[in-house]
């Protein structure tokens, strides 16, 4: 009885709102076709493209991270190499400076030695010249003394006189 009552209510309501099987089934089919076509031709390609794009973005980000890490690694290696180069350069500079210092010192010593040698040579030359000049002077003095003596005394000096005068002059000069 209740079932008949409910069925009657449902039937009346359906009739009032124009619900009937042909139209209901028609609308079900219409919606089904729309949903199927959208699913097949609109959602699938778009979701596939979105998924591919998402994967590409993820790959791109991963690549960017990897490149960043590699860049950091390269930067560290570069910095390390730079530090080593700096250290080596500093060491080389220090060594060059030390070598230059040694070279300068050596050259100084050599120069000093050469100068001393030159001075010694100059001294020797001076002494030789002095000796030569003294000898010439002595000879000249002997000649002058002999000549003066000859002129003053008015006699011709003998070899013996010359020898004696020369000895006396030499003795005087040496004193």
């Amino acid at each position: 009885m209740d079932c008949i009552f409910f069925a009657s209510i449902i039937g009346d309501t359906a009739k009032q709102f124009g619900v009937d099987w042909p139209h209901f089934i028609s609308q079900v089919i219409s919606f089904g076709i729309v949903a199927f076509l959208l699913h097949r031709f609109a959602y699938k390609p778009v979701l596939k493209v979105l998924e591919e794009r998402r994967q590409r973005i993820a790959e791109g980000l991963a690549n960017a991270e990897r490149i960043k890490a590699e860049l950091a690694k390269t930067e560290a290696a570069r910095q390390e190499a730079l530090n080593q180069a700096n250290a080596q350069a500093n060491r080389l500079i220090e060594e060059a400076r030390a070598a230059a210092e040694r070279f300068r010192e050596q050259k100084n010593q050599e120069t000093i030695a050469q100068v001393n040698q030159l001075i010694a040579k100059a001294k020797e030359a001076n002494e030789a010249e002095l000796a030569r000049m003294k000898s010439e002077l002595r000879r000249e003095m002997v000649r002058l003394v002999a000549e003066t003596t000859a002129k003053v005394t008015g006699k011709i000096l003998t070899v013996e006189d010359h020898r004696r005068l020369a000895e006396e002059t030499n003795r005087e000069l040496a004193a």
């Binding site: 124009g18 619900v19 139209h23 028609s26 079900v28 919606f31 729309v34 076509l37 390609p45 778009v46």
Partner: protein
């Protein structure tokens, strides 16, 4: 931003044009229908869709025409948007991608990534189809072009050529029943027949002894109520959508014909008064599409979600 401006401008134009069509509601065109002059004073939309033709024995109603038009527009647009997919989307593809991606993310947030893979086609179609139906039904001409009878104040349309697709209970009930069938299939796929029954009638919580026996009886009774609730879901879903859209169309028509005298004020009022209500109907259109999709997705989530106790039992 420019897209949003375009949409707002478009809907402003639509609202204004709709107001104009409302003003002309009594004068729309048309061939009088014999034998219907006794209904000439009846302004409101009829609860059922009106038959406007016959094709191979199937009576074609005005709401079916709108349904097919919307379906055709959607399919053509989707086909256009996805025909030549490009790496860098533009135009229709950009809009369609935005729509599909937004819906996918939204649904994924509600029902989870696994369930959304299986059910996205249905919820997205429901939302887009209802939204298109609701908004396209606001275009001037829907409900005002058709067959009518001459009256003192103009021609009164009795058989409109077009009617909002969701202002027909057949359409909303069809979607609700399709959901009901899909829901049952998904529930059985996820839970299995035994799990499905257990999900409905099985006791929840950890109890032992006599209390467990009592809980079993209580949950069997709760399960019966749950079954009744589930059986009534198609009714509530279909009547909610139908009621909102049907009431909205009636309200627009009532607002357009609110003032009948004098004649000059009738036209001015017919233009101005419905404008805010057109904006309201634009809002109602999207809200109802959202509500239908949300409710169906939450119903699906509820039946496809395992409780911890049950999950242990399944494993």
């Amino acid at each position: 931003m420019s897209l949003m401006k375009s949409i707002v401008a478009g809907w402003l134009l639509l609202a204004a044009a709709g107001a104009l069509q409302g003003a002309d509601a009594g004068h729309a065109a048309v061939a009088p229908v014999s034998g219907q002059s006794e209904h000439a004073e009846h302004h409101a939309l009829t609860p059922d869709a009106v038959e406007v033709g016959n094709f191979l024995g199937l009576r074609i109603t005005n709401s079916m025409i709108v349904t097919w038009c919307v379906a055709a527009v959607m399919i053509v647009f989707a086909q256009m948007a996805t025909r030549k997919m490009r790496e860098v989307p533009e135009g229709a593809q950009n809009f369609w991608e935005w729509l599909v991606e937004s819906l996918h993310e939204f649904l994924e947030g509600i029902i989870g990534s696994e369930l959304v893979k299986k059910t996205f086609w249905f919820f997205a179609s429901i939302f887009i189809f209802i939204l298109f139906c609701n908004w396209l039904s606001l275009i001037p001409g829907v409900g005002t072009i058709g067959w009518g009878v001459p009256t003192d104040t103009g021609v009164q349309v009795q058989q409109p050529l077009l009617r909002g697709a969701n202002a027909d209970l057949n359409m909303t009930l069809a979607m609700a029943m399709v959901f009901f069938v899909c829901w049952t299939i998904w529930a059985l796929q996820v839970n299995g027949p035994g799990g499905f029954i257990l999900h409905l009638f099985g006791p929840k919580g950890e109890t032992t002894g006599a209390l467990k026996l009592l809980m079993i009886l209580v949950f069997i009774a709760v399960g019966v109520l749950e079954v009744v609730s589930i059986l009534f879901r198609p009714v509530s879903l279909s009547f909610r959508l139908y009621g909102n859209i049907f009431a909205g169309e009636n309200m627009l028509e009532a607002m357009a014909s609110l003032i009948q005298e004098p004649a000059w004020l009738k036209y001015a009022a017919g233009v101005v008064i419905p404008i805010p209500f057109y904006f309201l109907e634009v809002l109602v259109g999207i809200v109802q599409a959202l509500v239908f999709m949300l409710l169906t997705s939450v119903f699906t989530l509820l039946i496809c979600t395992h409780e911890e106790g049950h999950e242990e039992g399944h494993h």
